[in-house]
Subunit: 111 residues, 2 copies
């Protein structure tokens, strides 16, 4: 009964998870590396990754003992369709996106 959108939006509602997505935008990463910048247990991050995976926003592939996480744009694409329909938005300014990313990334290089 519950839509995909439920899962995707719920996944996106958490800043930690959005930050993870932003990180994965740059490159695929192992779970431990994903967890590194956050002040949070590895187990917590592992749970977040499960949620992102269930939402279809990322995929995880185990290679050796390392589990690699990669961004999966398809779910976002469907959601984007939904959103765009609502606003009949003008073509989007991609530069604004970069500013968003900076807000979303966890503090890595500023104390």
């Amino acid at each position: 009964m519950s839509n995909d959108l439920d899962t995707v939006f719920a996944a996106l509602a958490d800043p930690t998870r959005r930050a993870i997505l932003a990180m994965l935008l740059e490159d695929d990463m192992a779970v431990t590396d994903v967890a590194e910048p956050f002040e949070m247990s590895l187990a917590a991050i592992s749970k977040h990754l499960v949620i992102l995976t269930k939402a279809g926003l990322i995929s995880q592939e185990k290679r050796g003992r390392v589990k690699w996480c990669k961004l999966e744009p398809d779910a976002l694409r469907a959601t984007s369709v939904w959103m765009q329909g609502f606003g009949q938005f003008e073509p989007v300014n991609l530069d604004a996106f970069e500013r968003f990313l900076e807000t979303e990334l966890p503090a890595t290089n500023d104390t």
Copy 2:
């Protein structure tokens, strides 16, 4: 500390709330009328509307004893920017959106 995106995505994560947005896409509505198609108390709908308002997705204006709700596309626009950046999505098929709407609208004319 917590971003607007938190609020907006959390608001969008609930199917009832998305259905309300879909209804408001067609026209502005009074709270009671918004509540009508749902099998849920008026108070519950009222709460949902508060959440949508706080997220900036709708606005409410009281005229007489009736409180009118209208869709507020700005918050969605900002969110859409965020989403698009992630996927670098192709231009979106708006027809697909109409199908989404049907999934989202609560059952009104089938008993």
